[in-house]
Symmetry: C2
Subunit: 366 residues, 2 copies
């Protein structure tokens, strides 16, 4: 079956009704088109000499420091197709997020993403359109996050009872790789990208309910933006790459600034002091979301301090946490949130206090 022969009705049919080659024909051309486009971008030093179709793809490149990472998203653990709120996570969302979180890991090392490999396992009941949307989500994440030269060089498609997506990302360092272990006493700790909005979006989708489709679209703008941040996070790739050669240490914020700062502190043998006041704008932006949820959730309690928790401990936004020498201007897109001091057995402090062993939630409740 040729792509042109796929009608709208065809795309609504479950993948279990198609042969493997029919399924591939529905989305592989989208990936091939993307790969041609990515390969033609100026400044490309990596050439895809053999594309998908053989046992492996082949990329030709100059002497390199390459970075590698892999990450899996599983339905029920990392997303739901249908949320309590009525929101849905589409194939596009799953593809976007799977790509974005791996791109974030690559750029946090100070590397440019050069290729993704994608393995998708799905139940046979998902519509063929889902796969096409998934492929588009992958390629749009590359383009819109700034990874225009990143190809999708391989994949695997299989059956399972729950949707599972594994993306492996490969990048090429622009200079020396940026590690967690390079922070120095006296460094300014800074952040690029949004904080807390993805956690707020999760709370909206998980803990509010009873909306019709029309209601969903008519929610206030700050609610819609939070949902969007959870479903389609954006990683500040250009900012991250501007930190190369300037920052002493950098990492992707996957578990919130407090916990991730702890990782840098421990790897670098410094203590990190964060100031809530420096997160004030991020927190203020989410207070209306917490307020909105307070009136709508029967199962969880929300208060204004929830917004603080989202910002300081919420993950999945895929911003950057970096440490810069104090005497250098911060690169564009970074804002200071704290500083590195001499090592202390408790390596992260918020407003001078030690978060308890049980984590930030417990600390807030003190």
């Amino acid at each position: 079956m040729k792509s042109s022969a796929h009608s709208a009705a065809t795309f609504a049919s479950p993948v279990g009704k198609f042969s493997e080659s029919e399924i591939l024909q529905a989305f592989v051309p989208l990936l091939e088109e993307h790969n041609r486009w990515a390969g033609a971008q100026p400044g490309n030093l990596v050439e895809m000499t053999v594309g998908p179709g053989d046992d492996c793809s082949v990329l030709s490149m100059p002497a390199s420091q390459l970075v590698f990472t892999t990450d899996t998203q599983t339905e029920g653990q990392d997303f739901r197709r249908q949320w309590n709120s009525g929101d849905t996570t589409t194939g596009y969302d799953v593809g976007w997020k799977a790509a974005t979180q791996n791109l974030a890991d690559v750029v946090s090392m100070g590397a440019e993403p050069i290729t993704l490999l994608v393995s998708l396992s799905t139940p046979p009941d998902i519509p063929l359109q889902w796969l096409k949307d998934f492929a588009r989500g992958l390629t749009d994440s590359c383009r819109k996050n700034g990874a225009e030269r990143c190809s999708i060089s391989g994949g695997d498609l299989g059956a399972s009872t729950e949707i599972s997506v594994t993306v492996t990302a490969v990048g090429r360092c622009a200079g020396a790789p940026l590690l967690r272990s390079g922070a120095q006493v006296g460094d300014v700790v800074a952040i690029a990208g949004e904080l807390g909005t993805a956690a707020a979006g999760f709370a909206v989708m998980e803990y509010s309910q009873g909306f019709s489709i029309d209601d969903l679209e008519n929610r206030p703008g700050h609610i819609l933006r939070a949902v969007q941040a959870q479903q389609r996070p954006q990683t500040p790739m250009r900012n991250a790459l501007q930190a190369v050669g300037v920052a002493h240490a950098m990492m992707d914020i996957s578990d919130g600034p407090v916990r991730d700062a702890q990782r840098i502190a421990q790897a670098s043998k410094v203590s990190i002091h964060l100031e809530t006041e420096l997160f004030r704008a991020d927190i203020a932006q989410l207070e209306p979301v917490a307020d909105w949820l307070t009136a709508r959730s029967q199962t969880q309690e929300f208060s204004l301090s929830t917004a603080t928790r989202w910002v300081l401990s919420g993950g999945e936004n895929h911003g950057m946490l970096a440490c810069f020498p104090a005497d250098t201007p911060l690169p564009k897109g970074f804002r200071a949130v704290g500083r590195c001091e001499r090592t202390h057995p408790d390596s992260v402090f918020v407003d001078g206090k030690v978060p308890s062993d049980k984590g930030w939630d417990h600390f807030l409740a003190e």
Copy 2:
């Protein structure tokens, strides 16, 4: 918890009872030890400058043609923890096979495996020991398949309702990559590695039943060997790399020689003629397995022709199918099974006959 504090009782406990750092402590040291060993092998041109622990690992390498592949195994689709026969698939088996099938894709391109990335999703009820066995299966596959310089440079661990393992493999071409599209009219078609034994092993585990643990071990040697081939296939890596610079085309046999020959024929625009007589030794070796199953299966019919089907259409052994110029001696480990001729609309022939569109099973039934 330190590794030394893990007692036998600890390892029998389900992973759901441990923190992420305790789980990692159970098997990451095994991988680190392997990586040190792999990095110290003579002739290594790839250096792991940053190991797992940062957002990405970093490998430093000279100008390269790199090959990339990814493949997922899902419980229930690709293996069972408990088979009808009473056989079990252990963590070691899952790790071994996930590594092997990706190593096979790399070496079939004429490339040396340089690193694997491994993502594992499991239900919380698997014992901690399972993870340790899994890691050992990964590293043993690298060592015993001949990929001694292949590191395990990254991974991801998550929860799911069924075990799912995705391995991404990266290799470095020794010369020009070997593709499916290079076969020429007049070439000898040849095979390295076992054929049919993995399919026979699957049939034994799926279609025989009612064995006690003692009975399982006392099955005849040809039965045990077939089960072993299904659980821990071996890919002929050294033979494959000896084909570089000699073979015109090569691929990993993942779906049996007939279907995979079709792929080379179509990519190379030749027709491939296979001779059953040249598979005689492979078939003869499996006739006792078919015979044994005939007396033991209530749900499937087996006959001596089943052995022919296993050999010609059985996958998962991960041998090599290659096309060599007729005037050159075959490299060690390869045996001739056919020849390439001028293109014909039906591109694969077995004993001069065309397998039907419905595949080899239907062809056999004619």
